[in-house]
């Protein structure tokens, strides 16, 4: 337990351990739906199966994304990718009754939720699950998503994190307003530019006091936000050198935020393609990539950047000679680059593909295949690699996106986890009953007693 009680210090101490999280992506192009063993993306059975497998492998947490509007491609819902997913908290509440230990993380947006309502719902999930809930804080600023909500699109990009931080502070005060179930709640009041909250909370603190906070954000503002507020940050930097660099940066920001060097854990998003031998793993990778990026997916990928239909082009041929549509600047998602940048990018890509002798499909695979986040190899080789991450404290764990549902964690749990346990870098049992305990996080300090005053932000 020593690592769990690291005092607030300016010196970073590696935990020497790796934790896993499982991310059921729901809407994405990385999950293979074309294979015979690909299961449903919405049936409860898929979620139950994969969450229970993760729990068998002592994963710290199971994550769900949030959908607020369907992705579009050239003005229509995107036909080629996995699309459609259940509400995160509803699904996690159901999973709470068929799991015992694994943490349950709901991605929830600060822009299109009300703080009091969301805080109550997360506290509710935390109580129902016995202290296993977490909130992955995300923000949105586009009116396109806002079209599905009463508020509409009202948030300036520059305000995104300010708004999110005020939201999180309010949620923390709501969660902290009850010490125990016997203690009467204190009123929480917040008057801000975007919302006003005046609420007397009605839920006591959970076994882990309040939901664990996860956050992803790579910009300086995002990193500072995480350094001030989050317990765990999802980084986009799993490659060793980048991971070490990211850790250093985050440690500095955490110290500057007054929270100590060890306050924020890091879990990069990652993909594992594993087999008994390196050769088999390489073969498997080929199979995975070809199912992820079929001929139509390759063309559609280019269409996002070209802003026009390219269905006449041969996926096995060279990149299109025609130029992108440059005036594509609508609010709809899917157009990856706007204005003059599109033409420049197209020129660059054509040259690159020609240089490397890549077809459209090969080129798109090279651009989309999560090269930076993929661990490919034999179980033993990858275990050795991860042990090195643990030794230096490059990361605290990995958030794994399985490319197959619902069996995509089986090889990790059956083969990689035991290898990691043998190396002494992976838990051999759950450390407690709450997510906070699994992660070795200290009980959170209560927010200051602000009951009597209105907090302006």
């Amino acid at each position: 337990m020593t690592q769990h009680n690291r005092a607030k210090s300016d010196v970073f101490v590696p935990s020497g351990q790796i934790q896993f999280g499982a991310f059921f992506q729901g809407v994405n192009s990385g999950t293979i739906w074309k294979a015979a063993e690909s299961g449903s993306q919405t049936d409860f059975e898929s979620f139950r199966r994969i969450a229970q497998t993760a729990e068998r492998g002592l994963f710290a947490a199971f994550f769900l994304g949030e959908g607020l509007r369907l992705r579009e491609h050239l003005g229509r819902p995107h036909a080629l990718d996995v699309v459609g997913r259940p509400d995160a908290q509803t699904m996690l509440a159901a999973l709470a009754s068929v799991t015992r230990n694994i943490g349950l993380v709901a991605t929830q947006n600060t822009t299109y939720n009300d703080p009091a309502d969301l805080a109550h719902r997360l506290a509710s999930l935390d109580l129902v699950s016995g202290g296993r809930a977490a909130w992955n804080i995300v923000t949105t600023d586009n009116a396109w998503t806002g079209a599905n909500f009463r508020r509409g699109g009202y948030l300036d990009h520059a305000d995104r994190y300010k708004h999110a931080e005020a939201f999180v502070e309010t949620a923390k005060r709501i969660w902290d307003s009850w010490e125990t179930s016997d203690c009467p709640a204190r009123r929480v009041v917040h008057e801000g530019r975007h919302y006003t909250v005046d609420v007397t909370p009605r839920l006591p603190r959970s076994a882990q006091h309040r939901p664990v906070l996860f956050q992803a954000g790579d910009s300086p503002e995002g990193r500072n936000f995480a350094a001030r507020q989050a317990d765990v940050i999802f980084s986009a930097h799993p490659k060793f050198d980048n991971a070490v660099e990211f850790r250093k940066d985050l440690v500095e920001r955490s110290i500057a935020a007054g929270r100590g060097a060890n306050a924020v854990q890091i879990m990069p998003a990652s993909e594992f393609i594993l087999a008994a031998t390196a050769a088999e793993a390489a073969e498997k990778k080929e199979w995975v990539r070809n199912l992820q990026i079929g001929p139509q997916q390759a063309i559609a990928y280019l269409e996002q950047f070209w802003g026009r239909e390219l269905s006449g082009y041969d996926p096995d041929g060279p990149l299109p000679e025609i130029d992108p549509v440059v005036e594509e600047t609508s609010e709809t998602r899917g157009s990856g680059f706007h204005g003059a940048k599109a033409r420049q990018l197209a020129d660059q890509w054509r040259a690159e593909a020609k240089d490397k002798g890549l077809s459209i499909r090969q080129f798109v695979i090279s651009k989309t295949a999560r090269i930076d986040s993929t661990f490919t190899g034999s179980y033993t080789a990858v275990a050795d690699q991860l042990a090195e991450y643990a030794r230096v404290g490059a990361v605290d764990g990995f958030n794994i996106s399985p490319w197959l549902i619902p069996t995509g964690l089986d090889d990790i749990v059956n083969h990689l986890v035991p290898e990691l346990q043998e190396r002494g870098v992976y838990p051999t049992e759950y450390r407690g009953s709450t997510l906070r305990e699994h992660l070795g996080l200290e009980a959170p300090e209560r927010t200051a007693d602000q009951a009597a005053e209105v907090v302006h932000a």
């Binding site: 739906w33 080629l80 699309v83 509400d87 509803t90 009091a116 129902v128 079209a147 919302y195």
Partner: protein, 350 residues
């Protein structure tokens, strides 16, 4: 809907419960033979979110319908629709929705909105129901095609923008909602929607599948049920609301609890008296929802004595194994309204 046999629902409350309490309560209700469990969302210290309690109960149960209250006034209709559709998935098609329209200044203050009162409450409810129904239909049943040959996961022609806008005479702050839903069509197509009779002025009977009927006293309940039946017709389930406290464990009903608050008709007395009363009530109503004074004390008597006797008398429907909530209510699974616009000429069901 008029059936000789009726169904029984039970309100499980849930204040101060953890997951283990919840599992126990819903399993006891299911094995007692209740057809549906409802989950109040009225604010009370220690009471967790109703929809999450229903979702938690989903995988633990097999045949009982799970019906949470969800507010329509201070919630986002898009979220409400998605959450309810998800409840249908995690319960294998046993989800329903008791529509509430919260009239409390506290609820308004919590989300920083002006308080909604009077007829505007019903308008908010009607709009929210319409948004959910459109979103549930916005993916046609066979929209997920997984067509390897063409690389298409979905058939885009089977996804539809709901394009909802509040009506011009909407009392509250009007809004619009685009769609389509983020989740494929619920297993039941449309979840059964139940509303309290008090909302029927603004919420059309065509928009709902069931009405919850209250009366100030037990002897007035049957007449109230007849009145509502006359208003909504036979195709809408009429469900009587009844508080219950029984003589149990050697104690008279009257000594066990303080009198009910008067909002609903109450029955206090013997098992035999309640059994007779429910039999007569089920001759008028499609179902009765019981609000037990003390869940586990009264539930034990109900499960051990009252329900078996009602079944013996042929008054109760058999539980529907692996059935949906719509099956229980005798409702067909409707086609999506958008599918009918292109494929079939007749109007869409609700």
């Amino acid at each position: 809907m008029s059936n000789i046999q009726g169904f029984l629902a039970i309100e499980l409350d849930g204040a101060g419960w953890d997951g283990a309490d919840l599992t126990r309560a819903v399993l006891v209700a299911e094995s007692a033979g209740f057809h549906a469990a409802t989950f109040t969302d009225a604010p009370a210290p220690g009471r967790t979110n109703a929809l999450q309690r229903a979702a938690f109960a989903g995988p633990a149960t097999r045949s009982i319908a799970l019906v949470p209250e969800v507010d329509t006034v201070y919630t986002e209709p898009f979220h409400v629709s998605t959450q309810l559709a998800s409840l249908d998935y995690v319960s294998g098609g046993r989800a329903g929705w008791i529509v509430t329209a919260t009239e409390s200044p506290e609820a308004a203050a919590a989300v920083g909105r002006p308080s909604v009162t009077g007829a505007a409450l019903g308008q908010e409810a009607a709009a929210s129901i319409e948004v959910s129904r459109r979103l549930w239909d916005s993916w046609e049943d066979d929209a997920v095609i997984r067509d390897v040959a063409t690389g298409r996961y979905i058939d885009v022609d089977k996804l539809h923008y709901a394009d909802f806008e509040t009506p011009a005479d909407f009392a509250g702050a009007g809004y619009s909602m685009k769609g389509p839903s983020i989740i494929p069509r619920p297993l039941q197509g449309q979840l059964p929607v139940l509303v309290p009779a008090s909302l029927l002025d603004e919420v059309s009977a065509d928009a709902v599948d069931g009405v919850l009927v209250s009366a100030p006293a037990a002897e007035l309940l049957a007449a109230e049920v007849r009145d509502v039946r006359a208003r909504v017709g036979a195709s809408v389930a009429v469900i009587a609301e009844l508080d219950v406290v029984l003589d149990a464990r050697g104690q008279a009903a009257g000594s066990r609890v303080a009198p009910f608050d008067g909002g609903r008709a109450a029955f206090a007395g013997t098992v035999a008296g309640l059994t007779d009363f429910l039999e007569s009530l089920l001759a008028e109503a499609d179902g009765v929802r019981l609000h037990p004074a003390s869940l586990f004390v009264d539930l034990e008597e109900l499960g051990r004595l009252v329900l078996p006797e009602l079944r013996r008398r042929g008054v109760l429907r058999a539980p529907v194994q692996d059935g949906t909530f719509r099956d229980l209510l005798g409702l067909e699974r409707p086609a999506s309204r958008y599918a009918s616009a292109t494929a079939a000429p007749h109007g869409a069901g609700k």
